[in-house]
């Protein structure tokens, strides 16, 4: 039995307090249900409003240079209010009439109408009415009660597929999403919601607050009157770090290639801001809005994002990292020459250079300039695969960049330590493959963009980001990106100098020749990734610097099946760099300038002619004098040759006035 210590009166006290509390409740219930029943009954009869939501305009998305890439436009929806006659016959005849004007199966319309009648709530029957069908349905309104057309804001992408992989698309809320959002008054079962990309990541900001139309219904849920609505509030605007000109250059450049697929990623090496982010093939973002839930025709949309999900062997652009490892370990002297006969004898197997004839004697710079494989085989063996693997990891290959895009791939770094973990052996052939970036090495374009940006800023890994800020309608910033230093690589000063010097010379005199830009120093490296399944993939990584200012752009271009980095990828990089630096480069001549220039040239040509004539005159004199002197003909011939050479140069480089002056 219970010990005597327990004060039983306390539990009794609680019990009795419950009785008193209940008495209070009973009094209150009597007041509500008996005494004031008529009052509340009246309210219940009268005060019955329902709401049909009206989609708020989603926030707009702008690029860095304030170009609108995602906005809203008005669209018309057909709404049915269960009004008056709610018989099945009425609904059937209405459905039959409507189906003539809507591109919808009759059964679907019927289902929605019956739902509306059953629940006594308004239902949205169709969205995105065309002008034509809207006109005809407006006529129907006189025959049938309860149908109404309301205006809503609809997502609109002015440039269709522009930046599609980054922006993402919106779609009808799915049952899974609805489960989590059903308690959010801002969403209804037919709301649109961001499905991918920025539309998904900033859904809460972009969404805004839906407005609504209040409807007065009677106690059986029939519509009596439409009351004043609540105005919708637009969502926050998102500002990107993307430069629209650079993005256009990237997308058009990729589209013009043979395969039309690949990726361009441009990064600002000073802070990690993404300036261009193109992945082709892309897709029309407006198609998702137009299809309005029926996603059947969207099955073949190519959502694969080459920039973050495409993994390829880096091939020759990996030589930058091999060179960095070699220079840092001081295993090579930049002046030391290696003879390239076109192959490298590794004992069991002969490894070829990409140039069958061989490059001949190569020092460090020439090895980079001509991308000589044999030089890098030698360099790789001298440096050792372990240092290369370590350097690759320092350059953050094999880990995702954390760019905040879904399913970013990490790629793969291979090397002796990785092999050892897998309990497998490491062969000399592996070292050679590693030295030229082939074999199991896999990278994504965004990783390589980061690698070249790090070469540009000498060792700083900035977290890549593409959102500049999110600003709500009141003008407050609700989100702002701050540059974040992820890690940094400390290499010797001489390593950076040699590395940069060599990639500079790649553009000046080597495979990256087609990326030269007047007024800016372009540093770059081409790559051609061998592809056993088809044409090779073309790589080009580059950054540009004006004078000694910090570099403002680093870009990585991958053209799938583009064959050669120099011909397919480098021109795209050039266009992107030119677009980014457009205000800082010397102005390309406008039409007027060009006319003036041609005029100058003509004038200069005339002057040359005069000069020629005078020379010829001189020559004749000389010939005459030779006749006299008999031994000066040789000298005169040389002089004529020199003159014509000068003329060639003058015609070749028309745009540069300094040469004109030289001619004069």
């Amino acid at each position: 039995m219970i010990g005597k210590q327990l004060p039983h009166n306390r539990l009794n006290f609680l019990k009795i307090s419950v009785y008193f509390l209940s008495l209070l409740f009973v009094l209150k219930v009597v007041n509500l249900q008996i005494l004031r029943h008529d009052h509340y009954k009246g309210i219940a009869e009268r005060n019955k409003t329902q709401i049909i939501s009206q989609t708020a305009p989603r926030g707009r998305i702008f690029t860095k240079d304030k170009v609108l890439v995602s906005g809203s436009r008005p669209s018309f929806s057909l709404v049915y209010f269960p009004f008056g006659d709610a018989s099945a016959k009425y609904a059937e005849s209405l459905a039959a009439s409507l189906s003539k004007y809507l591109e919808m199966p009759l059964d679907d319309i019927k289902k929605k109408l019956f739902l509306a009648v059953k629940r006594g709530t308004p239902v949205r029957i169709a969205e995105n009415l065309s002008d034509h069908s809207m006109f005809l349905i407006n006529e129907l309104k006189t025959v049938y009660q309860g149908i109404n057309i309301i205006t809503e804001a609809q997502r609109f992408y002015p440039m269709n597929g522009f930046l599609s992989h980054l922006l993402g698309y919106i779609g009808k809320i799915s049952p899974g999403e609805w489960k989590y959002l059903r308690n959010d008054s801002n969403y209804s079962m037919d709301s649109y919601i961001g499905k991918t990309g920025i539309e998904k990541r900033f859904e809460k900001d972009l969404k805004g607050e839906d407005g609504g139309v209040y409807l007065e219904v009677d106690s059986k849920g029939r519509l009596m009157q439409i009351l004043e609505g609540k105005k919708s509030v637009g969502g926050s605007n998102v500002y990107l770090t993307i430069d629209s000109k650079a993005q256009t250059a990237a997308e058009e450049g990729l589209r013009a290639t043979g395969s039309g697929s690949g990726a361009v990623v441009a990064i600002d090496p000073r802070n990690g801001a993404i300036l261009a982010f193109a992945s082709l093939p892309d897709y029309d973002l407006n198609a998702f809005v137009k299809s309005a839930g029926s996603n059947k025709n969207l099955k073949n949309i190519k959502e694969f994002n080459y920039a973050t999900q495409g993994t390829f062997p880096p091939a020759s652009i990996f030589k930058i990292i091999v060179a960095a490892a070699g220079l840092e370990a001081e295993k090579i002297d930049v002046k030391e020459e290696v003879f390239c006969p076109g192959y490298f004898d590794a004992g069991a197997r002969v490894f070829k250079c990409w140039k069958k004839k061989g490059h001949g004697l190569m020092d460090f710079y020439e090895g980079m300039i001509h991308s000589c494989d044999v030089y890098y085989y030698t360099l790789g063996i001298k440096t050792g695969p372990l240092s290369i693997e370590k350097m690759a990891k320092k350059f953050r290959l094999g880990v995702p960049t954390g760019i905040k895009m879904p399913n970013e791939k990490a790629g793969n770094v291979f090397g002796p330590s990785r092999r050892a973990k897998k309990k497998s052996y490491w062969f000399i052939g592996d070292t050679l493959n590693l030295s030229i970036g082939q074999g199991e090495m896999l990278v994504t374009p965004v990783q390589m963009a980061q690698v070249i940006a790090v070469v540009a800023n000498k060792g700083k890994f900035w977290q890549p980001y593409y959102i500049d800020k999110v600003v709500n309608l009141k003008g407050y910033e609700t989100f702002a990106s701050k540059p974040k230093l992820v890690s940094s690589i400390n290499l010797k000063k001489s390593t950076w100098e040699h590395l940069r010097e060599s990639v500079r010379r790649v553009v000046l005199e080597g495979t990256g020749y087609s990326a030269r830009i007047k007024g800016a120093n372009v540093y770059g490296k081409t790559g051609t990734a061998q592809n056993p399944h088809g044409e090779d993939h073309a790589w080009f990584v580059a950054f540009a610097q004006i004078d000694d200012k910090p570099s403002e752009i680093a870009v990585c271009v991958l053209v799938e099946h583009g064959e050669h980095g120099s011909s397919a990828a480098a021109p795209i990089a050039k266009r992107v760099i030119e677009a980014v630096l457009r205000d800082k480069l010397p102005k390309p001549p406008t039409v007027g300038d060009r006319q003036k220039a041609t005029g100058d040239r003509r004038e200069a040509g005339d002057r040359l002619q005069v000069k020629e004539d005078s020379k010829r005159l001189n020559d004749t004199q000389k010939i005459e004098s030779r006749r006299v002197a008999g031994d000066r003909s040789q000298e005169a011939g040389i002089q004529v040759k020199e003159d014509s050479k000068q003329l060639d140069t003058a015609q070749g480089e028309t745009d540069i006035p300094s040469i004109m002056e030289q001619v004069n």
């Binding site: 039995m1 219970i2 010990g3 210590q5 327990l6 004060p7 039983h8 009166n9 306390r10 539990l11 009794n12 609680l14 019990k15 419950v18 009785y19 509390l21 209940s22 209070l24 409740f25 009973v26 209150k28 219930v29 009597v30 509500l32 249900q33 008996i34 004031r36 029943h37 009052h39 509340y40 009954k41 309210i43 219940a44 005060n47 019955k48 329902q50 629940r119 006594g120 709530t121 989590y180 059903r182 308690n183 008054s185 079962m189 609504g212 219904v217 106690s219 059986k220 849920g221 609540k230």
Partner: protein, 445 residues
């Protein structure tokens, strides 16, 4: 003091008690079906409820059929289970309405905090049973709180404010019934009040920055961080307490210094833990706290939900509009109508008669739990019943009070009536424990 044994039938089964529960369950099921009839996800709710009923019944039979004393012997396992479950839900749980409180299972979701409530009652009853000799000492009360503190901490992390709101009173009621000194209980209440109130006030200021223009509010807000203001206020508190004691001691010679120092200390500690709680809260948690405090952030103005619920009840009249014929709730004017506001549906459709019936059944249940406590075979059984009584009392008074406009709107369901599988199962487990105590009220034979 004791109910006479002869007054309660000597049967091992309390048929009246079980009958009352069955009636409540039937009323609840009908009301849930009626209230969700117009909802889009009605099929899911009906399915889950029909799945929860047999599970709850099985759990009830299971718990009833074995000796409740096993919970006392194995209190460590019970305690470990609730802590693990509440920790696990933070990592593997899914979020709904901003709180990470559910485990997702193939057919339904489980809310471990509902079961933690029962577990806490068992663990607390064991502790109080063991330390009944020292119950007058403050250290016993402190240890009791220390036992429940991890549970509260994990609940704040979710954050599940309504679970905290129901569990803390249960702990206090158990302490009260075990015979702790009233002064100690008041100290705890004061501490809990300050700890809860300060972050709430600060959060409200956070969310309405224009309040900061008032210099007093601004000063008050500056106390939400550890700084010199805070130190000054604390020092002032102690000085004031001393002065009060000094003055009072002139009039009452025997007054203890403890009372004054105690009060100052409680406020100071409340302030400290309030700051810590505030720091722990993420933005979305603050937002949720705001919604919890004022769910009327509705386009139609303050009090809309409550007014509509009252209109629903009031329009029901004496006999109600008839089952499945309610309009207020069905047309979507009453929010959360199948969970926290189920009483509005009952009031509308079954009228005054229905509400009084439900109220009467609850009172009957609580009466029976109290009598079972008195006839329990051991002190542990008594204390467990006190806790279960406390649970019903809190649910009953908060839910009824909320609906009738007597206390602020809080997301507290009505057990056995509201929709919610975990709540139903855990309530039936509690009922099973009570029945087990009832059936084993005599010595083992």
């Amino acid at each position: 003091m004791f109910l006479q044994k002869s007054k309660i039938k000597k049967s091992r089964i309390d048929w009246f008690f079980l009958g009352a529960i069955a009636i409540l369950l039937i009323i609840g099921t009908i009301s849930i079906f009626s209230s969700v009839a117009a909802l889009g996800n009605q099929a899911r709710i009906v399915r889950t409820h029909l799945l929860a009923l047999p599970i709850a019944f099985t759990a009830f039979l299971f718990v009833w059929n074995f000796n409740y004393q096993v919970f006392q012997d194995q209190w460590k396992i019970v305690y470990a289970a609730i802590i693990i479950a509440l920790t696990g839900v933070l990592f593997f749980g899914i979020a709904d309405k901003g709180a990470q409180s559910w485990f997702r299972l193939p057919f339904f979701s489980v809310q471990p905090s509902e079961f933690a409530r029962i577990g806490l009652i068992l663990v607390m009853a064991n502790y109080l049973d063991k330390s009944i000799g020292k119950i007058k000492e403050f250290s016993t009360v402190l240890i009791a709180l220390g036992i429940s503190a991890p549970v509260f901490f994990l609940l704040i992390k979710q954050p599940d404010f309504s679970a905290i709101l129901t569990m803390l009173p249960i702990v206090l009621i158990m302490l009260f019934c075990a015979g702790a000194r009233l002064f100690h209980i008041f100290i705890i209440m004061g501490f809990a009040f300050t700890t809860a109130l300060l972050p709430i006030l600060w959060t409200m200021i956070d969310l309405n920055p224009n309040l900061m223009q008032n210099s007093f509010i601004n000063f008050f807000y500056s106390l939400s961080r550890f700084n010199w203001y805070l130190a000054a206020v604390l020092a002032g508190l102690i000085v004031f307490a001393y002065i009060f004691w000094f003055v009072f001691s002139k009039f009452y010679r025997n007054i203890s210094k403890l009372y004054f120092v105690g009060i100052a200390l409680v406020i100071a500690l409340g302030l400290f833990s309030g700051i810590i709680v505030k720091k722990q809260m993420k933005y979305y948690q603050q937002k949720r706290l705001e919604v919890f405090l004022s769910p009327n952030t509705d386009p139609k103005g303050a009090g809309y939900n409550l007014i509509q619920a009252q209109v629903a009840i009031g329009s029901g009249g004496l006999m109600g509009k008839g089952v499945f014929s309610g309009t207020q709730a069905k047309l979507g004017f009453v929010p959360e109508r199948h969970t926290d506001f189920i009483l509005a549906v009952i009031g509308e459709e079954m009228g005054f008669v229905g509400i009084i019936l439900v109220m009467g059944l609850y009172i009957f249940l609580m009466r029976r739990i109290v009598s079972t406590a008195y006839i329990a075979r051991d002190r542990f059984g008594y204390l467990v019943n006190c806790g279960i009584f406390g649970m019903f009392m809190v649910y009953f008074s908060v839910n009824f009070g909320m609906l009738l406009g007597l206390n602020p709107v809080a997301g507290v369901p009505l057990p056995l009536l509201s929709y919610g599988g975990s709540n139903l199962v855990s309530t039936m487990i509690a009922i099973g424990i009570t029945q087990s105590i009832y059936s084993r009220r005599y010595a083992l034979t």
